[in-house]
Subunit: 298 residues, 2 copies
């Protein structure tokens, strides 16, 4: 049984805080911390872990314990929108688990986080029963600063927990979804409007690809801009198609792609099909990859 | 201990012959037949297997047994140059084996093939002690038809076996080398001169990349031409660089790349670095591939 869990927390600058969180996660039996990365511009960190349901549940609670103690959103600023100290917690079925299992886990953990830490919890994606509260962006809109007002309006009672924000930790969004690729493309320009226009062009919400979420942001420390994306179904909207579109759109403004970046983990298949696309490989089978062959039985 | 062995045989049309060879290889304990593919234009098949030294040795001898019985080069024609019924047998160190181990195995198997089947054997690549007889192309030049004459000249006494060709099976080239990628690029044209010029441009021998062997051939059944290559060090001369060069050279003649093809197995790293190149991914680590992470210990 293998569930992947990729909590995003609103701390990307104080490395000792992030290190303490990583250490807490590593201490949980049945769970492996596969990766973690921090972005000082975003002021956000992403942890990637995998394990069984029991271990993952314990790990998420341990993470909330640290985050509630160490992160105070009232003093927080960063390029990435955020609603909570622990901002979002997705569960992803990897092996021997169904999406229904992950939805059930999201609801269980959501209820427990709310009870233990007095944090309002919203269920999202596959764990949400309400289409208006399915998409992370819809739930997060208004961010931490607008949360109290939002929670006072109709339709925004949380799925679990108090009817008002946690004063320092905000709210948390917990759910279940398919694997996504967190993919950023950095443009060789400081023109934020270019990044924002391109993000609008490629994301589903404003007319772009079905399985792309995107936003344009500034990387202050580098003097450049970034199209920051989530590819929510890399099989149907592949990474190379998104790259090529961003490249062409940037050329419209005389802007080149400087580099791109994969945040956290990426399924091998996404990179394989990228190589297949650019090399125009006909009839390629994953079984042709030496390491795959060596691992499978004859 | 894992040795990879990729024998190439001069039969790519009679599927029952090839199937019998595959069956013989599958029957050897300690050996796994990872892949086999046949090319009717080349009239050649490639088997990819992996195992321990003892199993691999038995498998190669079993293959020669079938090939000597079923392939008569006196009636053989095909696009790919060939010297023997079993044309070339490389041993490749994969895990827990050194190149020296593979060289020793090549010599042992070479001697045994010569003795058992009365086939002249030439050692090549790392197993060869003679620079004039290190490169497969140099040994194979003249092919089966020119072999008797070549063997009568100075410097072409085989490393093992009789001083004259086997009447129907020719000679065999056996050796040890690093992993290579057998990579073909099909051009959208029937102009063989274009394929030959491009092959000459990219292969090391005529001024091209250090770790590329290439030839231009016709695919009669499809009415197109192909640049057929071996990439002998995909880390130093990567597949994407070769692709891009072929593409640019073909454009000189108004010719497009139709498709490409990987024959047999390819190391995952070659495809990963291809994706990294085209997506301009900065700071990418193989550990970011989900499947890699799940397989390694924390």
């Amino acid at each position: 049984m293998l569930i992947e869990c990729i909590p995003n927390v609103s701390e990307g600058r104080r490395t000792e805080i992030v290190a303490a969180m990583a250490a807490a996660l590593r201490g949980i039996p049945g769970v492996r911390l596969l990766d973690h990365s921090s972005d000082p511009s975003h002021n956000r960190s992403v942890f990637t872990m995998a394990g069984d349901a029991t271990g993952i549940e314990r790990a998420v609670l341990a993470l909330f314990e640290r985050a509630v103690a160490d992160i105070d959103l009232r003093g927080h600023s960063g390029e990435h929108p955020r609603l909570g100290a622990v901002d979002v917690v997705p569960f992803v079925p990897i092996e021997g688990v169904t999406m229904a299992d992950c939805v059930a886990l999201a609801r269980k953990v959501g209820a427990e986080v709310a009870a233990r830490f007095q944090i309002p919890v919203y269920l999202y994606e596959e764990a949400s029963a309400n289409p208006a509260r399915k998409n992370l962006e819809d739930i997060r809109r208004g961010e931490f600063e607008g949360l109290a007002k939002k929670m006072a309006t109709a339709g925004w009672t949380p799925d679990f927990g108090p009817a008002t924000p946690h004063p320092s930790a905000g709210a948390a969004v917990i759910g279940a979804r398919m694997p996504l690729i967190a993919y950023n493309i950095n443009l060789a320009t400081d023109r934020l409007d270019v990044a924002k226009k391109i993000a609008a062009a490629i994301r589903h919400s404003s007319g772009g690809y079905r399985f792309v979420k995107a936003m344009g942001i500034t990387l202050e420390d580098r003097g450049i801009v970034q199209v920051s994306m989530n590819l929510t179904n890399f099989e149907k909207t592949p990474i190379f198609r998104v790259f090529e579109t961003v490249k062409r759109e940037a050329a419209r403004y005389g802007v080149a792609i400087l580099e791109s970046e994969i945040v956290g983990l990426v399924p091998a298949a996404a990179l394989m099909s990228t190589a297949e696309f650019y090399l125009q490989i006909e009839g390629f089978k994953p079984a042709q990859v030496l390491e795959n062959k060596l691992r499978t039985e004859n």
